[in-house]
C-alpha cells in the first residue's frame, strides 16, 4: 500500500497539563483510505488530527513525529502543506474569509499563485461537480449551515489535496444536510480517490462509507481496523456502547460474522431481506404524564428580521406543564428565533407568548430568569466570568438562591464539571461548555427550561448522561422545550414533537406518532423497520423472531 501519513510514537501534552492527551500513538494511513477516528470527548481525536496539518499542530510538549509522504510535517513548505493536506473545521462559520461563494473558492487558489484563467477553470469544474454553480454569487452570510460546510469543503478541494482532514464536520448540521454532506464526501473519496480522515461522534451516518475505524481510548489507539469489527468492540465497552449506530445495535447479537454487520439502513434492509428476519413489536404502551395546565401559550406570533420575510409567521403553540416538546426542522427554519422569543429575549412584531398569564418579554429580567431558563446553541455567549465555578456562583447569586455557593458546587458535581471548575469557561471543550450551559440553566430550577440544540458537540456517552439528567428534572415536573437536529435524542426522551416549517409549527404530536409518521426526519430504526413494525423508533421497540424463538435484540 502507498503510505501517505505516518504517525510514529506520538505523545503530546498540552501546556499546564500533567498527563498527555495522546500517548505513544503509532499509525499508518495509506493513500485512498476513508478513515474515521472515534472516541469520547477528551480522548484526543482533534489533537491527533490537528497533528496531520502543519499549520494546526498545537503548542505543547511533543515526542515522536508525523510524516506526510515520508517527510516530517515540520519540513513541509507552506505551499506543499496547502496543496497536499486540506482541512475542514467543525464550525462552518469560522473558515470563510470572503463575502461571496465564488471569491471564497478563489481565495485558496490565489494564495498558491494560480493564474486567473486556471482559477476560473477549476471553479467552474468544481462548482458543477458539487452542485454549487447556482450559489456562486450568493453572499456567504445568506447560506445555510449545510451549504456553508459544502463551500468549506469545496474551498479545500479546489486545491486538489491528497488528503482531506475533517473535524466533526457535521456537528452543527441538520440530519438531511449531514446526510448530503457525507454523500458528497463519499463521492469525493470514491470518484476522485482522495484520502479522507475525519473525527466523528455520530457514526451511523458515516461508518458505512468508511473502510477503516480508529478508536481512541485512554490516550491510546484501542482499535484500528474494519469499522464493523470496531463496532462490536465498542458495544462491549461501558462508555463506547453509546457510540454504536442504532442499525448495528439491532443486529449485534445475531451471532453472524461481524464483517457482515449492517451499519446503514440499506445494509440492514438487505440483511433482513436475505435472512428473512422478522421483527415484532415490543413497544410498551405509555401515556405521557402531562398535566392539563398550560405552562406556555403563544398566539399569532410573527417575527421578521428584515421586514421582508417572516421567520415566524402567525405561530400558535400551547405547552402543558410537565411536557417535553422537541422541535425539529432544517437549519435556518426559525427554531432558534422562536425559542428566543418564547424565552422573552426577543420581542416579536405581532402576537403574545405568556407564561403564568404574563407576557414573557414583559417580565422583569431578574424575575424571568427564575421562571424560564434558556440554553443557547452557542453557550459561550452566555458566559462572562473567569472560571467555571465563578460562573455558577455568580448565577446562583443573581437568582438569589439560598446557600448560593453550595448550590453552585452541587451543580458542578452533578454535571461532572469538577475537573474543569477552576478553568476559564472559554477554554474548556465544546462539550464541557454545553454542560456548563445546562448547569447554568438548571440552577434556577425553572418551571420552563428552553434548550436550543443541547446535544450539539456532545459525544454519545455525554449525550446519554445529559438525557438522564433532563429526564430526571422533567419527571420532577419541569417543562422542557427543546430545538434539536438530533432525531435519536428527541425520540428517546421527549414526550411530544413538532416540525418547524415555513414560519410555523406543524401539528404537535406524541413523539412515537411523530417519528412513525415522518419519512425523512425520523430515526434510523424507523426507516429500517417501517414496513414490519411501523411504530418502532428505537432498538428496544422490537424483538427479532427467528427459528421459532422470540428474542429481544437490544
Amino acid at each position: 500500500m502507498d503510505e501517505l501519513i505516518k504517525v510514529d510514537h506520538l505523545t503530546f501534552t498540552y501546556p499546564d497539563q500533567k498527563t498527555p492527551v495522546i500517548d505513544d500513538v503509532n499509525l499508518v494511513i495509506n493513500r485512498g483510505q476513508f478513515v474515521v477516528i472515534a472516541g469520547a470527548t477528551g480522548s484526543g481525536k482533534t489533537t491527533l488530527i490537528n497533528h496531520f496539518k502543519k499549520e494546526l499542530v498545537p503548542n505543547g510538549d511533543r515526542q515522536g513525529q508525523v510524516l506526510i509522504n515520508q517527510k516530517p510535517i515540520s519540513k513541509l513548505s507552506k505551499l506543499e502543506s496547502a496543496k497536499v493536506v486540506g482541512y475542514v473545521a467543525q464550525d462552518p462559520t469560522i473558515q470563510p474569509i470572503m463575502s461571496t461563494v465564488i471569491d471564497e473558492l478563489a481565495f485558496a487558489l490565489e494564495n498558491v499563485g494560480e493564474p486567473s484563467d486556471e482559477i476560473e477553470r477549476r471553479i467552474a469544474e468544481l462548482a458543477n461537480y458539487l452542485g454549487l454553480d447556482q450559489l456562486l454569487h450568493q453572499s456567504i452570510e445568506a447560506l445555510s449551515g449545510g451549504q456553508l460546510q459544502l463551500v468549506n469543503l469545496a474551498s479545500v478541494l479546489i486545491l486538489r489535496p491528497e488528503v482531506i482532514l475533517l473535524d466533526e464536520p457535521a456537528a452543527q448540521l441538520d440530519p438531511l444536510s449531514t446526510q448530503h454532506f457525507f454523500e458528497v464526501l463519499n463521492r469525493v473519496h470514491q470518484e476522485l480517490g482522495i484520502t479522507i480522515v475525519m473525527t466523528e461522534h455520530h457514526l451511523g451516518s458515516v461508518l458505512a462509507f468508511a473502510d477503516r475505524l480508529i478508536l481512541l481510548q485512554g490516550r491510546h489507539v484501542s482499535f484500528d481496523g474494519l469499522p464493523r469489527v470496531g463496532i462490536a468492540k465498542m458495544a462491549a465497552d461501558s462508555q463506547l456502547q453509546y457510540f454504536v449506530p442504532q442499525v448495528s445495535h439491532l443486529f449485534l447479537d445475531t451471532n453472524k460474522k461481524l464483517t457482515k454487520l449492517p451499519i446503514s439502513v440499506a445494509e440492514g434492509q438487505k440483511r433482513i431481506s436475505d435472512e428473512k428476519i422478522k421483527f415484532v413489536s415490543a413497544i410498551k404502551p405509555t401515556i405521557p404524564a402531562v398535566s392539563e395546565d398550560h405552562m406556555l401559550t403563544a398566539k399569532n406570533l410573527t417575527f421578521s428580521f428584515d421586514k421582508q420575510q417572516n421567520v415566524i409567521d402567525r405561530l400558535d403553540l400551547t405547552i402543558s406543564s410537565g411536557d417535553w416538546l422537541s422541535i425539529v426542522g432544517k437549519n435556518g427554519s426559525g427554531k432558534s428565533t422562536l425559542l428566543s422569543i418564547l424565552a422573552g429575549l426577543r420581542i416579536p412584531q405581532h402576537g403574545k407568548a405568556k407564561v403564568a398569564n404574563q407576557v414573557v418579554w414583559k417580565i422583569p429580567t431578574a424575575s424571568r430568569i427564575q421562571t424560564i431558563s434558556f440554553l443557547s446553541q452557542t453557550p459561550s455567549l452566555q458566559f462572562g466570568e473567569e472560571t467555571v465555578e465563578k460562573e455558577l456562583m455568580k448565577q446562583a447569586h443573581e437568582l438569589r438562591l439560598d446557600f448560593p455557593d453550595k448550590q453552585a458546587k452541587m451543580m458542578i458535581d452533578r454535571l461532572h464539571l469538577s475537573a474543569v471548575a477552576d478553568q476559564s469557561p472559554f477554554d474548556i471543550s465544546g462539550g464541557q461548555q454545553q454542560l456548563l450551559g445546562v448547569a447554568l440553566a438548571l440552577l434556577a430550577k425553572p418551571k420552563l427550561l428552553i434548550l436550543d440544540e443541547p446535544t450539539k458537540g456532545l459525544d454519545p456517552y455525554t449525550k446519554h448522561f445529559l438525557g438522564q439528567i433532563l429526564q430526571e428534572v422533567n419527571t420532577s415536573g419541569m417543562t422542557i422545550l427543546m430545538a434539536s437536529h438530533d432525531m435519536e435524542f428527541s425520540a428517546a426522551y421527549s414526550k411530544h414533537c413538532a416540525f418547524m416549517f415555513d414560519g410555523h409549527l406543524n401539528t404537535v404530536l406524541p413523539t412515537r406518532e411523530f417519528f412513525a409518521n415522518n419519512f425523512f426526519f425520523t430515526t434510523s430504526i424507523n426507516r429500517l423497520l417501517r414496513v414490519q413494525v411501523p411504530m418502532a423508533i428505537m432498538p428496544e421497540d422490537v424483538n427479532s423472531v427467528s427459528e421459532g424463538t422470540s428474542k429481544h435484540v437490544s
Partner: protein, 299 residues
C-alpha cells in the same frame, strides 16, 4: 419612490473598479470643498436620489435614521459652542449664564451635520458599488496584503456587530440587560459585554487566521482571480467625471461655495452658489446619467 435597480445589472457596478474608486475619491473631496448651506442641501438631495436608485428606499431610509442622531448632535454642539454672532433667534438665562441660539450657529451646525451625513451616504454607496473583492483588486495594485486586510477587517466588523447583538440578547439570561438600570449600570454592563466580545472575537479571529494559513495564505506571491478589462465606457466615465471634478476645484479656487467665518452663515443662498450647486449635483448624479445613456444604447 424610485425603484432600486438590481445592483449587479447596473452600469455603475460594472465600470472598472479603479474608475469607480477614482469617482468616489472625487465625490469625497468635492463634498469637502464646499460649506455653503445651499450647496450642502442640494448635494444631500443629489446623493439621496443616487442612493435611492442603487441602494433602494429601505436601505436609504435606514441609513438616514441612523444618521439623524449624528446630525442632531453636531447641530446641538455647534449651537452650544458658537454664541458670538447674530441674529439671535432665542435666548435663555439661568443665573449668570446666558445661552444664545444664533442663526449662524444653527445654520453652520446644520451644514456640518449634513456634510457628515453626505460622507456616510457616499461610503454606503461605495460599499455597494465596490464590494470587498473589488476593493482587494484596487488595493492590490499598491499592496496585496493590505487589500486582503481591508476585506478581513470589513468581515470582522460585521461579525463583531452581529455577535454584539447576539451577546446582549443572551446575557439577559445572566441578568445583564443593557436596556435596564441606571446610566452607570448600563455603562458597566456594556463594558462587561464588550470585554467578553473582544475575547470571543479574538479567539475566533485566531482560529480563522489559522484556517487561512491552512489554505496557503502567505505561502508565496498571491495571484488574482478577478481581472477587469478596461472598456471605452470606462474612459468616458472617467474622463467626464474628472472634467466635472476639475470644474468643482476651479470653482472652489475662485472662492465659490466656501465661507471662512461662521459670521457669514446668515443666508441660505450666497453669491456664486448656483455654479457650485450645479457642478456638485452634476458629479453626484453623474452615475445616473451614465446609467440612462447606457440603457439608451441597449439594442
Amino acid at each position: 419612490m424610485m425603484n432600486k435597480l438590481p445592483i449587479r445589472m447596473t452600469f455603475f457596478y460594472r465600470v472598472h473598479p479603479a474608475v469607480a474608486a477614482i469617482y468616489f475619491l472625487e465625490v469625497v473631496v468635492a463634498l469637502l470643498l464646499f460649506n455653503h448651506p445651499s450647496i450642502a442641501v442640494f448635494g444631500f438631495a443629489g446623493l439621496t436620489v443616487t442612493s435611492l436608485l442603487y441602494l433602494g428606499g429601505s436601505a436609504v431610509w435606514r441609513q438616514l435614521k441612523m444618521s439623524l442622531f449624528l446630525f442632531l448632535t453636531i447641530v446641538l454642539f455647534n449651537c452650544l459652542l458658537n454664541q458670538r454672532f447674530g441674529p439671535i433667534l432665542w435666548r435663555l438665562t439661568i443665573g449668570s449664564l446666558t445661552f444664545k441660539l444664533t442663526a449662524p450657529a444653527l445654520l453652520y451646525g446644520a451644514v456640518m451635520g449634513l456634510m457628515l451625513v453626505q460622507m456616510l451616504m457616499a461610503f454606503g454607496l461605495l460599499n455597494a458599488i465596490l464590494p470587498p473583492n473589488k476593493l482587494v483588486y484596487v488595493f492590490s495594485a499598491v499592496t496585496p496584503k493590505l487589500g486582503l486586510l481591508v476585506v478581513i477587517s470589513a468581515n470582522l466588523v460585521k461579525s463583531f456587530i452581529r455577535n454584539f447583538h447576539q451577546l446582549s440578547m443572551l446575557q439577559k439570561t445572566r441578568n445583564i440587560d443593557l436596556a435596564k438600570g441606571s446610566f452607570v449600570v448600563r455603562i458597566k454592563n456594556a463594558g462587561h459585554l464588550l470585554q467578553i466580545l473582544l475575547e470571543d472575537s479574538l479567539a475566533s479571529g485566531m482560529e480563522t487566521a489559522r484556517l487561512m494559513d491552512a489554505r496557503g495564505f502567505g505561502a508565496g506571491k498571491r495571484s488574482h482571480y478577478r481581472t477587469y478589462r478596461w472598456h471605452m465606457t470606462d474612459w468616458l466615465f472617467l474622463g467626464l467625471s474628472i472634467l466635472i471634478f476639475l470644474g468643482i476645484v476651479a470653482a472652489r479656487v475662485n472662492h465659490i461655495g466656501w465661507s471662512d467665518s461662521v459670521a457669514q452663515f446668515s443666508l441660505f443662498w450666497l453669491a456664486g452658489d448656483l455654479l457650485g450647486v450645479g457642478l456638485l449635483i452634476g458629479l453626484l448624479i453623474f452615475p445616473m446619467v451614465a446609467e440612462g445613456v447606457y440603457h439608451l444604447w441597449t439594442n
